[in-house]
Amino acid sequence: MYKIEVIKNSKLDELLYTTTLRNGLKIYICKKAGYKKKIGMFGTKYGSVVNDFVDKVSGKRVTVPSGVAHFLEHKLFEQEGANALDLFTKIGVSSNAYTSFDQTVYFFETVDKFNEALELLIKLVKTPYFTDENVKKEQGIIGQEINMYEDNSDYVAYFNTLIAMYNKNPVRIDIAGTIDSISKITKETLYTCYNTFYKSSNMFLVVVGDVDIENTIKIIEDNIKIYEKDYGINSNSSNIEIFEAYEEEHINKKIIEKQMDIYMPQICIGYKLNIVEKNEIIKRDLVSSLVSDIYFSKSSKFFTEEYEKGIISDVVSFNCESTKTFSHAIISGYSTKIDLLKEDLLKYIEQIRNSLVDKDLFELAKRKKIGNTIFRSDNLDNSYRRIIDSILNENDVYEDIDIIDRIEVSDISDFLKLLDSDKQVVSIIRQK
């Protein structure tokens, strides 16, 4: 049988069960007593930034067009002509999938069809079916998806920030690729990526809800066995070899502006940061959310002043995003007086970098963070996000809750020092 590890978090009243199957697949089950909804997620540690690697089948180094991971997501969630969303709907289950920079995840949500849905999820992800014809059809649908994002000013503002910060890192390319790059994708490309990155040892299965633990693990193993002929044979799970483009420390461009047919202009200010690992990623994330509260929330001097000057009506947001291959902070805001907002933001950031942290605001922000962590656990989505983050960042699942208690004022000032004007880029969307 499997060795099941149990982690209890008393602050959130959650129990987490984890185990690893013989093929290397990691299973995480977060028990949420009393909830009707159950969520099953099958994911791989493979996302849009990977496009240069060693093909597991041929052993040769290959490069693939941008957008393959996302394309694969669309095609894998389909079976011999039937869309997976439809197959799930037919058994009364809702489902979806997403691709981000470093992961591709397929999931379902159900109340009373958990076992069937779990079986279907495994079947879909484990049985690729790519033909010239279905690849061509998908190019049309994904083309529409790319166009839709191209008209979305938030998305354009964000990606222009990434383009400005990064010279070579594929994070600067749209997750779905471009109309041009997806036209180069063939069924062979899809099989190459699938065979390399959808090995069970590179994947994870996360379940959240009020489910039976032993039974769930048994269903997972029984179903995986159907599709893996070599299951149980100690497969040589040699590491996947990925080549990352060398990314210089310096930024690519200081400023990118674009005019769109919109009413509300917006700005993103990005800071390219040094790469951190494991629990440092979690810590950076928490520290930056405190920075957001202390310096940009409605409690802040900045908000009050800008509101009174008539420059902003809502808070500007401050977010940090980090993976194994990049880390950056992005401040974004909307204003009909976008140049004034830009000027004030840049001045303000310089000023806070060189000032002492207000201890009262720091304590207030921490209190809020402690409450919010508990609030959020009323929502099942929050449980799987924490688990998937921990898988990708390779840290313990509930580490964030301990880290928050240990954050000190000096962590805030250390972080602010990273917001260096040499590493700063600006992306603006203006009215046409």
Partner: protein, 420 residues
């Protein structure tokens, strides 16, 4: 007190307290209502600015307080909503309820008013804010196209107006007029308080609410005075066509449909009809328009139960305009001709039921259902189980029958100029 409702579930850690002012409205007053809600949320006598409000909330462990506006059919609802944690989950079991209730009372009933005038600076700023909200709706092309279709379909009813109102109605709002409107809103609204979440240790929560809000809870208006649908019987014999130009890569095609002469029991077959037509991945539109024809990434139908109407929307390439209309018309007719198979019928019902069951896991969904039942049925007798059983009783022939009452009223096109 009869207008305080409690929905207890111990699996949650939080408690959501929703205080609703629901009132009938005329189109011209929607902008003023949205400015009012916005001004109220920006300060009160004891918490005179957003900074004070935010500090209060952070101190109470990030308790969340939101003021929002929505249309429920032709009614307008201003909602003040608190999300707090049950003391059981807070450090030292600190209880934040009393402070939060007093805070809420202060925001709603003790606003920054002097000599019958709101603070002039805040009014000016919030008018600008609402003007921006009205103007920026066009930034999201799909949402804008849907909203525009609602407007065209309901050109005579309040429901047709954007939730923040019309720009031309903002001009005349002053500190004084807004105060008069505030008094009117309080007088013309039904007050409903709905508490949902983990109420363990809060048996007396309704008494506390009565203590804090007192006679303000006794509104003159009751749900029997509120009409959710000001029926507009104007149906067009011929389909009307509208087109608007915009610079974008993708175009949006929408259709507005109305349902003629329906009775209350037909709402449930219409909900299932909507799922079969275009509200799930098994639906005819998703399967044919998206999957078979590759015409769109987004295609969906939406049913407005209080207004007896549908909107179908899709993001398409301009060159596919004619084909897209043809395919949608084909699907509408195919249902009318009885083309619903057992599989899609069962799938659609299951998917609706599954969505409804998930409401049990959401404090807010349960609150919303209660208020909407109260406004629609004038009581709160109908629970989630009743709704589910009504859906389950729907038959294929019920759906075919109601489908014959659904007629295309207008076709709207938000045309992209850039060629791809």
């Amino acid at each position: 007190m009869s207008n305080i409702y409690k929905i207890n579930n111990e699996k949650f850690k939080g408690i959501s307290i929703s205080y609703n002012l629901t009132l009938p409205i005329v189109k011209e007053k929607i902008a003023e209502n949205s400015v009012l809600a916005s001004v109220l949320s920006k300060g009160s006598k004891n918490y005179p600015n957003q900074n004070e409000i935010d500090r209060f909330l952070s101190w109470h462990y990030g308790s969340n307080f939101e003021t929002s506006v929505e249309k429920i059919g032709d009614l307008y609802n201003i909602e003040f909503k608190f999300l707090i944690l049950n003391k059981k989950y807070l450090p030292n079991n600190e209880d934040v309820l009393d402070n939060c209730l007093r805070f809420m009372n202060d925001i709603i009933y003790n606003p920054l008013v002097n000599t019958s005038k709101f603070d002039s600076f805040i009014v000016k700023r919030e008018k600008e804010y609402i003007r921006d909200k009205i103007n920026e709706k066009k930034d999201d092309k799909l949402r804008y196209a849907v909203q525009k279709t609602e407007e065209l379909l309901c050109d005579k009813e309040p429901f047709g107006v954007f939730v923040y109102g019309r720009e031309e109605d903002l001009e005349n709002i002053t500190e004084e007029s807004l105060y008069r409107r505030y008094i009117e809103v309080l007088d013309e609204s039904m007050v409903t308080v709905i508490i949902s979440g983990n109420l363990t240790g809060y048996d007396d929560i309704d008494n506390k609410i009565e203590e804090v809000f007192g006679s303000k809870l006794n509104s003159r208006i009751s749900c029997n005075d509120l009409i959710i649908n000001n029926v507009n019987d104007s149906y067009n014999e011929n389909i009307q066509y509208f087109e608007e130009k915009v610079e974008s890569t993708q175009s949006v095609l929408t259709m507005g449909l109305k349902v003629k002469d329906i009775n209350e029991d037909e709402v449930f077959p219409l909900i299932v009809y909507n799922a079969i037509l275009g509200d799930t991945p098994s639906s005819k539109l998703f399967q044919n328009f998206r999957e078979k024809e590759s015409l769109a990434y987004t295609v969906r139908s939406r049913y407005y139960r209080y207004k007896n109407m549908f909107v179908i929307y899709a993001g398409i390439d301009k060159i596919n305009y004619n084909r897209a209309i043809e395919v949608i018309k084909g699907e509408l007719n195919s249902i009318k001709n009885g083309n619903i198979n057992e599989e899609e019928f069962i799938a659609s019902k299951q998917s609706i039921v599954a969505d409804l069951l998930e409401w049990y896991d959401s404090k807010v969904a349960l609150q919303k259902m209660l208020l909407s039942n109260l406004l629609n049925y004038k009581n709160t007798d109908m629970n989630l189980e009743d709704i589910i059983s009504k859906i389950e009783k729907v038959t294929i022939s019920d759906i075919i029958e109601v489908s014959k009452k659904v007629e295309i009223n207008l076709i709207y096109f938000l045309g992209g100029e850039k060629s791809v």
